[in-house]
């Protein structure tokens, strides 16, 4: 059943998307708020001090970030005031909603790749492991590969033209996905070599780089942010992949038709 496959993907995406919000509030959102005080050159020391307490507690390892995805940390709600929201949900509400939509979207795309590439999910541990591998591969294509050229950026980061960066980002994600499929799932060595070329090509071409890379945002914030973003999204993609593998393995074989 087509509908059951889509619903399985949607369920995995909504769960992973829901877990993403608390995971972001561990480290990413405090760093964004801290960086925003430097954005546009305005140094708001009062606000910087207000968020410094959250970053002091934010130096956890990725493993801690992953486990903290379960607990709903309430101490960041004080930063929500004063933000206009198109849905009247406030900044936290908007982020929850955006994470749910992003989770559903990424889950459907990941399920699409699995279905079109003919990846089967056997019941039990094998399905889960394949899902985790699929999630790790997606993390490489969507997060790690683009981050070589366009490192995850806090607000106030120096940036090149938005359309150029978005174009390069989409090409890189697509080329990395196709390349990874060729390398991992095609037996012919010519295909594997072509896959490596595809993965490397966007980086040889080069990402758009701003003319002036000086910034008011402290380098410490920026590098902490890049690491936090990669760690948090790794948690998201592994959770999504594992759930997807598990859920798709539970769609009965005769219903996968």
């Amino acid at each position: 059943m087509i509908v059951r496959l889509l619903l399985a993907a949607l369920a995995a995406g909504l769960i992973a998307g829901m877990a993403m919000t608390p995971a972001q509030y561990v480290k990413i959102v405090p760093l964004i708020l801290q960086a925003e005080t430097y954005e546009g050159g305005g140094h708001d020391h009062g606000a910087a001090e207000a968020v410094s307490s959250t970053t002091a507690a934010g130096s956890e390892t990725p493993e801690v970030t992953a486990t903290a995805g379960q607990d709903h940390d309430a101490n960041d709600h004080t930063h929500d005031e004063g933000d206009e929201s198109m849905l009247g949900l406030g900044r936290l509400g908007d982020t929850v909603l955006a994470n749910l939509v992003a989770g559903a979207g990424f889950a459907l795309m990941l399920a699409a790749v699995a279905l079109i590439a003919g990846i089967e999910f056997p019941a039990g541990r094998d399905g889960l492991m394949r899902g985790l591998l699929l999630g790790a591969g997606a993390w490489f294509c969507v997060q790690l590969a683009p981050s070589f050229g366009l490192p995850p950026a806090v607000p106030g980061f120096p940036h090149a033209d938005l359309a150029d960066r978005q174009g390069w980002w989409m090409v890189t994600v697509g080329a990395s996905a196709l390349g990874l499929w060729l390398v991992a799932l095609r037996p012919e060595w010519v295909a594997r070599a072509l896959g490596l070329v595809l993965i490397a090509a966007p980086h040889v071409w080069g990402a758009p780089v701003p003319d002036d890379i000086s910034s008011d945002v402290p380098a410490y914030l920026a590098s902490a942010y890049a690491a936090a973003s990669l760690a948090t999204t790794l948690f998201f993609w592994l959770l999504l992949g594992g759930l997807l593998g598990h859920f798709l393995s539970r769609v009965p074989a005769e219903q996968r038709a």
Partner: protein
């Protein structure tokens, strides 16, 4: 009779998997594009923290 059903469900299965995959690809792309890349100011503001945390090009 039984053989015929077997054949039908096999072709059905290959076709339906691809159809489900393409549907998921289209719907998923639209959702991801809306959250991560769409140029609308309202969408940008609402998805701001999400865009930054996933490393989408932003600002």
């Amino acid at each position: 009779m039984a053989a015929k059903i077997q054949t039908l469900s096999l072709t059905d299965r290959i076709g339906a998997r691809t159809v489900a995959g393409l549907m998921a690809l289209v719907i998923g792309s639209i959702l991801v594009f809306g959250v991560g890349l769409a140029n609308s100011q309202a969408l940008h503001d609402a998805a701001h923290d999400t865009r930054h945390s996933y490393g989408f090009p932003c600002h």
